[in-house]
């Protein structure tokens, strides 16, 4: 594998060069993006400045025939959190980049003249060309244009108008199997950093390449077979997720009283079954949409889907749980068609749906719109796409919006909006929100195996320290899985079935000719977190930033009427290993 470095600020115009992986050999995904950013980006640099870098890295197993291996990591210093960011996405480009032999693309510098560029990559090389005709195009129109220019066998990585306007909620879009810009590295404003590099789109054509070959093909095939068997036989990955997608969580989280509603005022949304995964799947089926669909080739879980309108016309990919919550329940909107349109607009403008939903919730509480008003939500989001003064405020996320509007209840950690689980209901997730290097992040502490849990000794589940230790182990294991390019949803099968976790390790070992063990996976995760934490410290993030907003400790959440109870001194022990 090799690294493609593109210096967008080079004398005479942007220049590309390829170099060996070097000291980054053996790293992929989040491990690679975090290592490069930690080494090469000055922690105190301005996130929108020339010294920041945007790193796009497939995972260690991307481009192989391993199931579930198509995820991609996007890393930089975040304009939203001020810390080291890794945002993760599905879609096709990860597989394609890896088959072309790229371990990472690193965008560096800043173009001098404010031009907009596209970068075309195929087996013959890299071509960077200015193209101001792409200015302010939504991701959907952009992709259509690229299809006309380069054909239908491409993959696209792009930013929408939000990225061009360098909004801190801007995402980087990745096309799916149908060549639609529906998968996003959403969190932390990575799209704004791509915007500062003047890169509107990276177009990838991997024709003429083949899947990457493992060192031991027989062992690799065997491990993959066991891995797939494990995923298919598990009720979550083999049945629940394919049938209903991630939005299957709505009813359950709501029942637990941990479904943040009305800008985190309540823990239950009375109309939640109108926007549940069950209702969403039924609606799609009845209208000729598709409730079972993969976001990249090689996905066997197929948790995505296709949402259509009442006449059967495509609207957007099946909105995920986080999106349905953020743009739905959090804003008291109970109409799936409205939520689908909001999702489509977010994809087109290139903004994070979680950040936008939290932002609109804050704006609603501030009086800019009524809770439950779907049309008002659509209008607010359209302001973002237009880049109006209001839109620029909203497009910079919940923290900025809350400050401008004089709001106290602003659900952010390290400037990033909280996702769809109220930490007062599920306090361990609150520990992760508070302490993660990524800001409030629901995927940062996601995966665990029985082996990993035993590392660090026994913890009392009823004590706050128990939750802190558990969150620590989860964050370590997640950082490791994010480095493989594997979809995090394998975690559930891996959690329950030790043989499936072993199959994942066997895949890595067979591909690279290694002898990794579960402990080795743990060490990789720790290394990643350590690098991120150290960067954050140098960037000025301290223990004071590892905290939830004050209102979580003061406002009891109905229906259980509880506050967040984990003490600061316990949160401060999380990174003690």
């Amino acid at each position: 594998m090799k690294i493609l470095r593109v210096n967008m600020g080079a004398e005479g115009g942007p220049k590309a060069r390829e170099e060996p992986m070097g000291e980054f050999e053996g790293l992929g995904g989040r491990a690679l993006t975090s290592a490069i950013v930690a080494k090469e980006v000055p922690p105190l640099c301005h996130p929108l400045g020339a010294d920041n870098k945007l790193v796009i890295a497939p995972g260690l197993l991307s481009g192989t025939t391993a199931a579930m291996s198509g995820r991609v990591s996007v890393g930089c210093k975040s304009p939203l959190t001020g810390g080291l960011k890794e945002a993760n996405s599905g879609g096709q480009p990860s597989q394609m980049l890896a088959r072309l032999g790229y371990g990472a693309i690193v965008l560096e510098g800043k173009p001098k003249e404010g031009k907009l560029y596209k970068i075309f990559i195929n087996k013959d090389g890299v071509k960077i060309s200015p193209d101001d005709s792409l200015k302010m195009l939504g991701n959907y129109d952009l992709v259509e244009k690229m299809k006309k220019e380069y054909g239908e066998k491409i993959g696209c990585i792009s930013i929408g108008p939000a990225g061009e306007m360098k909004m801190s909620a801007a995402s980087v879009a990745f096309t799916d199997m149908e060549l639609r810009p529906t998968r996003h590295a959403g969190r932390g404003g990575v799209g704004a950093v791509m915007g500062t590099k003047g890169v509107k789109a990276i177009i990838i054509d991997d024709r003429g390449t083949t899947a990457r070959s493992p060192k031991d093909s027989a062992k690799f095939l065997e491990a993959n077979k066991k891995f797939v068997e494990g995923l298919k036989k598990h009720a979550v990955t083999g049945q629940g997720l394919p049938a209903y997608g991630t939005n299957v969580l709505t009813n359950v989280i709501n029942e637990a009283g941990a479904y943040p509603t009305k800008n985190f005022m309540w823990g239950r949304f009375p109309a939640c079954q109108k926007i549940s995964g069950e209702t969403e799947a039924e609606t799609e089926k009845a209208r000729g949409g598709l409730p079972t669909h993969g976001c990249h080739r090689g996905c066997v879980i197929q948790c995505s889907g296709v949402y259509v309108d009442k006449d059967g016309h495509y609207v957007t990919k099946q909105p995920e749980y986080e999106t349905v919550w953020a743009l739905g329940g959090n804003c008291e909107i109970d109409d799936l068609d409205v939520i689908a349109l909001l999702d489509r607009l977010c994809d087109d403008y290139g903004v994070d749906t979680i950040e936008m939903g939290a932002t609109i919730g804050v704006a609603m509480e501030a009086g800019l719109a009524k809770f439950g008003d779907g049309q008002a939500s659509i209008n607010l989001l359209k302001e973002v796409g237009k880049g109006s003064y209001l839109g620029r405020i909203l497009g910079n996320g919940a923290a900025v919006t809350g400050k401008v509007l004089g709001m106290e209840r602003v659900p952010v950690v390290k400037g990033q909006a909280l996702p769809a689980y109220d930490p007062r209901g599920i306090q361990g997730i609150g520990v992760t929100y508070a302490t993660s290097t990524q800001g409030a992040d629901h995927t940062a502490g996601y995966a665990v195996t029985a082996n990993v849990l035993k590392v660090g000794g026994f913890v009392d589940p009823l004590k706050p320290e128990g939750q802190v230790a558990l969150s620590r182990n989860l964050q370590i294991a997640t950082a490791a899985i994010d480095s493989t390019g594997m979809c995090l949803f394998i975690a559930f099968a891996v959690l329950d079935q030790p043989e499936t976790f072993q199959a994942l390790i066997d895949l890595l070992n067979a591909f690279y000719g290694l002898n990794l063990t579960a402990d080795g996976v743990t060490e990789l995760g720790k290394k990643v977190l350590k690098a991120e934490r150290e960067f954050n410290k140098k960037a000025g993030l301290s223990a004071e930033h590892d905290r939830l907003p004050d209102f979580f400790m003061k406002e009891p959440l109905p229906p259980h009427n509880i506050t967040f109870q984990v003490q600061d001194k316990d949160l401060d022990t999380l990174f003690n290993w």
């Binding site: 009720a235 979550v236 990955t237 049945q239 629940g240 997720l241 049938a243 209903y244 991630t246 299957v248 969580l249 009813n251 359950v252 989280i253 029942e255 637990a256 009283g257 941990a258 309540w266 239950r268 009375p270 079954q273 109108k274 549940s276 995964g277 069950e278 039924e282 089926k285 009845a286 948790c303 749980y321 689980y421 007062r424 209901g425 599920i426 306090q427 361990g428 997730i429 629901h442 995927t443 502490g445 996601y446 665990v448 029985a450 849990l453 913890v459 589940p461 009823l462 128990g466 558990l470 969150s471 989860l474 949803f489 559930f492 959690l495 109905p558 229906p559 259980h560 509880i562 109870q565």
Partner: protein, 225 residues
Amino acid sequence: MLGERAAGRISFAESIVNEAHSIVTLRLILVADLLSVFSPLLQRGFMTKIQTGTVVKAVLCEQFGLSPEYVQDRIKTIFLDGKAVDDIDSAILKAGSTLALSGPMPGLAGATLRREGLLASFRSQITHRGDKKDYPTRVEGMITVKIFNLLLDEIGPVFLKRGIYLPRGDFQDFFNNIPEKFQKEFGAAEVNGQKIDLDDLQKMDWLGQNDTVFLSVDFDAPTSN
């Protein structure tokens, strides 16, 4: 607002048991394909009579007729009055309880809420701690049951065959929004034991002054092909 609604349901349920309500019985005989039509009702929650003062496991197995293996292997997430249940041998169902049943859920939150899950400590503040009080047992009472995701197809028919109680308003709301395929694939219906055709069923005159509908559904109707 949330508390008022729950309190209203409890008093309504009590009054059904105390026979302070007038109930009309509607039995539908439908093809299996129409199960999905009832999904909103099953998710939102319906009332059913049980012998109260009994632990969750006994109600599920002895009263609802679910096998212990099914309960163990498929009903992986259970809430009793909004609290996650780990021990179904100690959590007691009382009159007015709300019992929510789900398959295993994805993600960190899903793993956290799962019955006897490794990550249960993450939600210790909303864990059902078991009932230490003694409650009168085997007293007929009404509870609310909610069924989610994979369990809708698997045990939804069990509850619909057994029969569910719906306040008149909830039934009308449901029936007024019923999808077209109900009309296209309709089988047969009986009101208080008397046959009724689809047109008359849809007019809803048969509700009369009754304020409660006891709805049962048999998915036994032959398919058209």
